[in-house]
């Protein structure tokens, strides 16, 4: 199987200057790879650094050291040391991300929030909206909400907008931060189906799923993040 992303010896520490410069080690020696057509799951208790790892892969958190090599436009690039411009290009074309919470923009409709990743890739507005409508239908998002800004939606409704936004493109690598946390059973099934389809299309997925049913349904292998716990590496 084709390896799309390799993380090696990635380390992250927060230095809290507001609290006298106290160092908060998060993870160290994070090493794993993601293969096309498979879904890996980050395992381990809350607070062990799972979300931080996803955020580093997406360039949202910086890394202290280590490399995150991703196949981008046919070459290997290191997210950990990439320029802001390159990170934005990687996000546009290679690494997608479904965050746990939706960051709503005032006055932008749910439909356009979901369609945006296609628009920035140059897809025509109406085509992009059509695909967003298809995903909203599949995710059972009531049609009366589509033209409204999602700021006032319920948690589950916002999450479905976020999922549509993440799944609308054909990014080869997709990161999922608890995409089913606020969903009912029927919609969890839809997300499981969407993930299965991404795998069939050859995407490499990496997710955090606290829901055991979902995790068992999608995971090809589990990466135990407690093995990367920063304290442990130091010992």
């Amino acid at each position: 199987m084709n390896t799309l992303l390799v993380a090696s010896e990635v380390k992250k520490t927060f230095i809290m200057h507001m609290r006298g410069g106290v160092e908060l080690p998060v993870v160290a020696n994070v090493s794993f790879s993601l293969k096309a057509g498979a879904c890996a799951v980050l395992g381990g208790p809350s607070g062990v650094g799972k979300s931080s790892i996803l955020k580093m892969l997406y360039g949202n958190y910086g890394c202290d050291s280590g490399q995150i090599l991703v196949q981008h436009h046919g070459r290997h690039v290191d997210v950990a040391s990439a320029s802001p411009r390159l990170v934005l290009e990687i996000r546009r074309d290679t690494i997608g991300y479904v965050s746990q919470f939706l960051r709503a923009v005032p006055r932008v409709s749910a439909l356009d929030v979901a369609a945006e990743p296609l628009l920035i890739r140059g897809v025509e507005r109406e085509t992009a909206r059509e695909q967003a409508r298809d995903l909203f239908t599949e995710l059972n998002l009531p049609e009366k909400l589509w033209s409204l800004p999602p700021a006032t939606f319920s948690g589950g409704e916002q999450q479905r907008v976020n999922i549509a936004r993440g799944f609308i493109t054909d990014h080869p690598v997709l990161l999922l931060d608890e995409p089913t946390a606020s969903l009912d059973a029927a919609n969890r099934e839809v997300v499981i189906e969407l993930i299965a389809r991404k795998k069939a299309d050859g995407a490499a997925l990496l997710g955090i799923f606290h829901d055991l049913d979902v995790r068992n349904a999608v995971a090809d292998h589990v990466i135990d993040v407690s093995a990367f716990a920063a304290g442990k590496a130091a010992a």
């Binding site: 230095i15 200057h17 958190y61 910086g62 411009r85 923009v105 005032p106």
Partner: protein
């Protein structure tokens, strides 16, 4: 092959055109006597990119913006701008007339206070049309047509075209100022606290409008703001300034979600949650 034909051929073959920075700022410094306005600032700005300069009052952001936009001569350092013919020119080595022409055509400047960027005693239509006349348009019908079209793009009704901006609300004035700047299809727009002093609902509308225009027109923007939420919504990249110096720079969401410098951490932790 002409340069644009070469670019088209590259685009058809799926090869992105080699892009060079639009603006290159190097070691820009401005001192006021013994006080530092801004010191040793360097960055590149690429076509279509939005850069936010943030920091509290007195941190040197407006001095920096004025030095970049040729409104205030720097003490040392250079600002290079890539002209439409692809040649990069030092804006402080240009003839005054050439620099003024650049500011009227290829650049825009949106002031915090619309009164500084508008002429309050001529009509809204004339405010927009004036910049077109400055670049040589003389046909009254065309100018009026373009003015009405731009008023519509910034959500000002056509029937206000003959009214003077002093009869407009603050939000409308700011939208008119934006139309006046964008009518000549500039490639680079400077903004100094564009949403400062507006009600939050008016501010949200303006931000939404700016986001749309920036992406539709592929504008490069340097926006100065003390409001980190505005920076998050509008910008790709940001520079954090303190006491005239850049203390942190990077991708906007990286700086805001994983701030490194003590001062950036203080700024981010001071944001009020709603």
């Amino acid at each position: 092959m002409t340069p644009s034909a070469t670019l088209e051929a590259l685009a058809k073959a799926g090869i992105p055109a080699p892009v060079k920075p639009l603006l290159t700022v190097e070691n820009l410094t401005r001192v006021y006597g013994k006080r530092i306005g801004c010191a040793d600032v360097s960055f590149d700005l690429w076509p279509g990119e939005v850069l936010a300069i943030v920091g509290e009052s007195g941190s040197g952001k407006t001095t920096l913006l004025n030095c970049i936009s040729s409104r205030l001569t720097p003490t040392c350092g250079t600002v290079h701008y890539r002209m439409r013919d692809g040649v990069s020119a030092d804006i402080y080595k240009m003839a005054e007339a050439e620099r003024r022409y650049l500011m009227r055509t290829d650049w825009g400047f949106v002031h915090q206070n619309p009164i500084d960027g508008l002429r309050m005693t001529v009509s809204a239509g004339a405010n927009v049309g004036e910049r077109l006349m400055a670049v040589g348009n003389r046909h009254y019908g065309n100018i009026r047509g373009a003015a009405i079209e731009w008023l519509a793009r910034v959500e000002i009704d056509e029937d206000r075209v003959d009214d003077q901006p002093r009869t407009f609300s603050g939000g409308m004035r700011q939208r008119l100022q934006i139309a006046r700047n964008l009518v000549t299809e500039p490639r680079l727009v400077f903004m100094d606290e564009p949403t400062g002093g507006l009600d939050v609902s008016v501010q949200a509308r303006l931000l939404d409008l700016l986001r749309g225009l920036v992406s539709d027109l592929g504008l490069a923007v340097v926006v100065v703001t003390h409001d980190l939420a505005v920076a998050r919504l509008l910008s790709d990249r940001m520079i954090v300034m303190k006491e005239g110096r850049v203390i942190e720079a990077g991708l906007t969401d990286r700086v805001l979600d994983d701030p490194r410098a003590p001062y950036t951490q203080l700024l981010v932790s001071s944001i009020l949650q709603v």
